[in-house]
């Protein structure tokens, strides 16, 4: 188990490789379809994204007194952001992306170029992941994008992920797919 703590510098992130199991401590910024389209269409990020991590997640957040509480915070399918992700990594210096299901060749190339990683959270594990959120530090674009699509700044402790696309051009998704293709051909 590797601990990755803020600040998420390029050196720390370049040292990670496919298959590494990592616990993240620091702040994650949620962003899904509407936020990626907003940035792609020329919108300004509400917070500086340099050396930050974007989490593909539409959390269930409730208001308790003057605090936000996260009730569920599992990953959503990342491939929907494939048209935008590479450009956003390059333009804003994002250091990492968390989601599920993996991403395509455009993102893999951008990760290599920028020294960033794609990290896979366990799909469906809404409770384990919600419990890693120690505090909601803020929320941005809430009125413009609505709650699930807003940018939530989540302070997390030991948030568990697996590196499935690294900064060196390797993708676990591509490897598993080609190995399983060979196995399937063998079986048939």
């Amino acid at each position: 188990m590797i601990a990755l703590s803020a600040p998420f510098t390029q050196d720390k992130v370049r040292a990670l490789k496919v298959g590494d199991m990592v616990n993240i401590t620091g702040t994650l910024y949620t962003g899904r379809d509407a936020f990626h389209k907003y940035l792609h269409d020329g919108g300004e990020p509400p917070v500086p994204l340099r050396d930050q991590i974007i989490y593909h997640c539409g959390p269930v957040v409730v208001r308790e007194g003057d605090q936000w509480k996260v009730r569920a915070a599992g990953p959503t399918t990342s491939i929907r952001e494939e048209p935008y992700q590479g450009d956003i990594l390059r333009k804003f210096g994002v250091r990492g992306v968390i989601g599920k299901g993996g991403m395509g060749p455009k993102t893999l190339e951008a990760l290599r170029e920028c020294g960033a990683v794609y990290m896979h959270a366990v799909g469906g594990a809404a409770q384990v992941l919600a419990r890693c959120v120690t505090r909601v530090a803020g929320v941005y674009l809430l009125e413009e994008l609505g709650s699930p699509e807003a940018v939530w700044a989540l302070e997390v402790e030991d948030f568990p992920v697996v590196i499935t696309m690294d900064a060196h051009g390797h993708s676990l998704h591509d490897e598993v797919q080609s190995r399983s293709r060979m196995a399937l051909d063998g079986i048939l």
Binding site: R71, G124, P160, S180, A183
Partner: protein
């Protein structure tokens, strides 16, 4: 709330927060097959922790409530309109209480009424039977796994699949390969051979109501089910597609008659978050027994 509404509400709560015992046992058993320290074993550990946490907290174990599918067996004379209304009250209330996410959206306007009640949601499937009791089963099926379901029309030249069980096998293995980790595996397959495009998919979902450990009464299909699980697990896709020994936890196959001109194979993929529970109601519409 009426007694029926209360009973259905408890069914929804428990289905959302607690996996049935057969699924929990299968997940726990699969952990022994994953290489220690590997990413597959790691995913299963997180999954296992998540199952326990959700149950203790009585909270949704997955954030994706999914499709809300009720399957009702009742004696002749059940008022289906009243039953549907009670199910809608239960779903509305469960959504207010946070046991279900506000998850049902108009496909054209994108409007989300926030109740999970609307065209097609919840879905109710009624069957009459000769028994006196009413049995209600509920399945919550998430979008990620529904997206990787597949339907094949045989013969399929690309797969080299003809109109026989050997062709069915090629379709099922292709569906598992295409899904990779995107359906939140390890998965469970419901398969229907035959029927038409609509009835085939419906029957594939009905197969998912079978307990994981049961045996198919048809010896040919029983052997096919076992072969498919063992072959799928040799593909090495593993939990979440991280690589590993557990790609499928089960595969259930049923048949419907087909037309001479058609040969469909319909496959529903269920994620590890296999939320399915059921109750037998007593004469006063309270819960007499849990079915899984």
């Amino acid at each position: 709330m009426s007694k029926l509404q209360e009973s259905l509400l408890e069914l929804v709560r428990r289905t959302s927060a607690e996996l049935p015992e057969d699924v929990v046992s299968a997940i726990e058993a699969s952990r022994a097959h994953e290489e220690e320290g590997g990413a597959g074993a790691y995913a299963l550990r997180v999954i296992s922790d998540n199952i326990a946490l959700a149950k203790t907290a009585s909270a949704p174990l997955c954030q994706d409530t999914g499709s809300i599918l009720f399957f009702v067996h009742a004696p002749a004379g059940l008022d289906q309109i009243a039953f549907r209304e009670a199910a809608e009250v239960a779903v509305r209330t469960a959504t207010e209480k946070g046991w279900l996410r506000q998850n049902s959206v108009d496909p054209v306007t994108g409007a989300n009424p926030g109740t999970n009640v609307g065209p097609g949601s919840p879905y109710l499937h009624f069957d009459q039977w000769r028994e006196d009791a009413v049995e209600v089963k509920l399945m919550l099926k998430g979008g990620g796994c529904e997206n990787v379901g597949a339907q094949y029309a045989l013969p399929d030249t690309r797969l080299g699949a003809g109109r026989d069980l050997a062709g069915v096998r090629r379709c099922v293995l292709d569906a598992v390969f295409q899904a990779q980790g995107k359906g939140c595996g390890p998965g469970i397959l419901g398969v229907c051979v035959g029927g038409d495009r609509a009835t085939g998919y419906e029957a594939s979902k009905l197969q998912l109501l079978r307990p994981l450990g049961d045996r198919n009464p048809d010896p040919t299909l029983d052997e096919l089910e076992r072969t498919l699980v063992s072959e799928a697990n040799r593909l090495g896709i593993g939990p979440m597609g991280f690589g590993g020994a557990t790609t499928l936890l089960g595969c259930k196959v049923g048949l419907l008659n087909r037309l001479p001109a058609s040969y469909f194979v319909s496959i529903s993929y269920m994620c590890w978050a296999y939320r399915r529970q059921g109750v037998r109601l007593d004469g006063k519409e309270g819960i007499a027994a849990w079915l899984y």
